[in-house]
Every structure is written in C-alpha cells, then in structure tokens.
Amino acid sequence: MLAHENSPLKQTPLHALHLARGAKMVPFAGYDMPVQYTAGVLKEHLHTRKDAGLFDVSHMGQLVLKAKSGKVGDAALALEKLVPQDIVGIAPGRQRYAQFTNDDGGLLDDLMVANFGDHLFLVVNAACKAEDEAHLRTHLCDTCEIVSLADRALIALQGPKAESALAKLCADVSSMKFMDAGPRRVADIDCFVSRSGYTGEDGFEISVPADKAEALVAALLDNPDVLPIGLGARDSLRLEAGLCLYGHDIDTTTTPVEGALEWSVQKVRRSGGARAGGFPGADKILSQFAQGASRRRVGLRPDGRAPVREGALLFADAASSEQIGKVTSGGFGPSLNAPVAMGYLPTALSAVGTTVFAEVRGQRLPLKVAATPFVPNTYKR
C-alpha cells in the first residue's frame, strides 16, 4: 500500500473527487485509481444493479482514427487490417466491440470502435494504450491520422437508473439504443456518449474534456440514485456479466475462437465473406472457425460457497493429477450471492453442465460449466 509513495502513478482528472469521496486508492495500469469508496465493493455492486453507478475509467485510452482521404470508410478499411471485425459495416452513430490480433491469432487488446461520421473513435484498455497507439501508427500511418485524446476523461454511468440520471443533463439520451454512439451535449459540455458499458446493465460511457470532468461528475452525483463505484465492483459486475477482462480472460495466447468471442467476428470477415481474412493471424483464426479450437473459455459456477479465484488449476476429477485448464477470473458474485468464475477447458469438456474440479488450498472443489452471462444483461436493444 506504500507503493504509490515511491512510484510516480498517474492521476485521472477525477483524482481529487475520489479522495474527497473517501475512496481507497490502488495502483492500476500505472494510475492511482479508486478500488472502492466508503460503501465497499458489495454495496457498490448491488447499488449499480439496483439504481446507478458512476465509474471513472479515464485511465483507458481514447483515440481518433481519421483517414487522410477524409472518408470514414477508408479509416474503417484500414482498421480492418488489424482487427477481425466488420468495421466498414459500422453505421454512423454506432459502436462495435473489436480486438487487435497478432500473427499467431492471439489478442493484443480488445477495444470499442465507434463511427462518428467522418472518423472512427476508439476506446482501448489502459494497460495497452501506448502499445495500441504505436501499433496503429506502425501499420496505418500512411493512410490515416492517429490522434490520442489524452486531454479527455471517460466515465461510465451504469444501471437501471442510468438513463433517467443522464436524461436530466442531456435530453437526447433516452432515444439511444445499445451501442449507439456519438457527440452529445451533456450539461452544456461537448461530450461523446455511447450507450454501452462493462457491467451487463443498461448504461452509458461518456467522454468529456478533462477540465470539465469534475463538473459533469458532480452534476451526476447530485442525483441520489447515482453513487461512485470503484474498480472492485467494476470487476465483480463484469464477471457476473460474463465479460472478458483483457490480460486475464483473453491475451496474446488466446484467439477469438478459444475466447468464445466468435459472435464478435462478423460473417463478412470469415471464410467466404466479402472481406474474409486480411487481419493478423487470419489463417489460424479462420481455420479455428472451420475446425474448432482445442480449448474454450467457459463460465464456471462452484458448487459450494468458496470463491475460486484467478490462477486456480482445473482437473477432470477429484483425484486426477493431469491439469486440464485454469481459472482466468473468479470471485464472489454479489447479485448471485454465490461464487462465479471463468476459465479455459478442453473443448470436449466445455459443455454447460460438465463438472470439473479446481484446486483451492490443496482441496479439489467441484464446479459446473455454466452459461454466461451469469446475471442476465439489461441492454436497451
């Protein structure tokens, strides 16, 4: 806990507000971030599912990708060289989940891509943002301008009361549907708003100029339905929603097929599609689409109450010495009032209902492969 006295941790534009609200700060991806406020992880989690939670995710990277031709379609075609998604097909005002792949079909990062009409707006993970920007420059600088929006904060407002809370400051938002995205005036501030998030709940992510972030957040927190929520609850919320955490559930060694992210690769980029392949690792990824992969990311529900955490080794039975997989995320799901986990298993053992065993403190604990999301999502489609 003394680490941040020695290492120069970066601060988000909302750092002072976190301290004023009694946050417990921890180092995360080079930033001094709130892991929880005075309410604690459990209450913050449940509040987000019941009312609305406000998250500071300003550590994440925000980038603009603009074609030198001025045509957004050219930027989309360029980006398709680095991701297996249909970027050309993202309509203006819409957003899509994507991944940067490497030559082995592994994932360098996952990201959101929005079409803002004349350019693309990208949101990438904090820990990867410098590499992602360099990756874009290396491969796309001949056709595109890449601008890092380091002077903007990013906040997420999530939960069933997120719409009513944001609607008080921006009349437009009620008509937005899940994954709509674009510039909006919020509390008289020029923002970028998307109807998306990382909790499984309906909600919004709002990019705001750094010098206006505190005013916007103060206006949102004026609403008694809205509480600030730390990274602790952000993690338990996304885990219950079955959403991957980059660097844990997916990384450079996992492909989109192994990661059970086939849904995120549109048909137009798969074999037989009009723009099939053409991204790093396409041979491996497309052959896995055809033939399947030997392992797969699955949801796991421990039978008992003991949380099974990241790193726990998985076995086919209570006695076997042969490890068959590993837990990549795990903890306690406050909304389920039960432990939940995710991990990789041999595809043959990945069917829902299959029992496997995790080694926890020298004991073998039974878990069942379970469908995700563990908690149904409430996106406004």
């Binding site: 459990l42 109450r305 306690f332 406050p334």
Partner: protein, 121 residues
C-alpha cells in the same frame, strides 16, 4: 478473562486453558465484505503460525494463522451460514475457533489491547 492480539490482526480471549480466536475489527475493515469463511476441523492440532482458517472477502482470500499451539475444540458454524457476521461483529459473535492451549508460555509473545492499538495506529 484476558484479550490478547497478534500482529496478524487476530484476537484471543483466554478463559482457563481455552483460547477463543477471531480476527479484529481493524482486520475486517481492511478485508471488506466477507463472503466465505473456512474453519479448521474440530480435533485438529495446530502449531503456532500454521494456517488455520481462511477468510474470503469480495476482493481476496486471506489466511488466519493459529496464534498459538493447541487443539481445535470448537468452531463457529454460524460463520459458514452468515460470513457477513465477520464484518458486523468481528470481536464478538464472529469468533472463528477455540483452541485448548498447549503452552501458556506462548501467550507472553502476544500484545495487549494498548499495544495492539498502537500497532494499528
């Protein structure tokens, strides 16, 4: 009845040759919301500093060490059903286990309330 403390944030209430052991209110406040407690089996002989129980919060798992050597004579089954007792009453209803003290000499190395208060200040 004497209450003693360890630097690992456990408390011991000494009654005759029995020590009742739990974690301190300071410890629960650092752990956050407790969601699972694993207790030792009755009859188990514990050596001083041996991992005896596990307390898991939403955030992480933490070991509870035997502060002294002894045999487990009773465990608090209520914690299995209601782990949140650790947050609401760490120093009382949320005791973890009782040990029959093997060597009273080991108690000399523990802190009294004033020393523990200074330790967590």
């Amino acid at each position: 009845m004497t209450t003693l403390y360890t630097s690992d944030h456990e408390w011991l209430r000494i009654e005759g040759d029995v020590a009742t052991i739990g974690i301190t209110d300071y410890a629960q406040s650092q752990l956050g919301d407790v969601v699972f407690v694993e207790l030792p089996k009755v009859g188990r002989s514990l050596k001083k500093a041996e991992a005896a129980a596990v307390v898991e919060s939403v955030k992480a798992a933490s070991d509870v060490y035997a502060p002294i050597t002894g045999e487990v004579i009773e465990v608090n089954e209520a914690l299995a059903a209601e782990p949140a007792l650790v947050n609401s009453d760490a120093g009382g209803k949320a005791w973890f286990f009782k040990l029959r003290i093997a060597d009273k000499g080991e108690l000399g190395g523990l802190m009294d309330e004033a020393a523990y208060a200074a330790h967590t200040a």
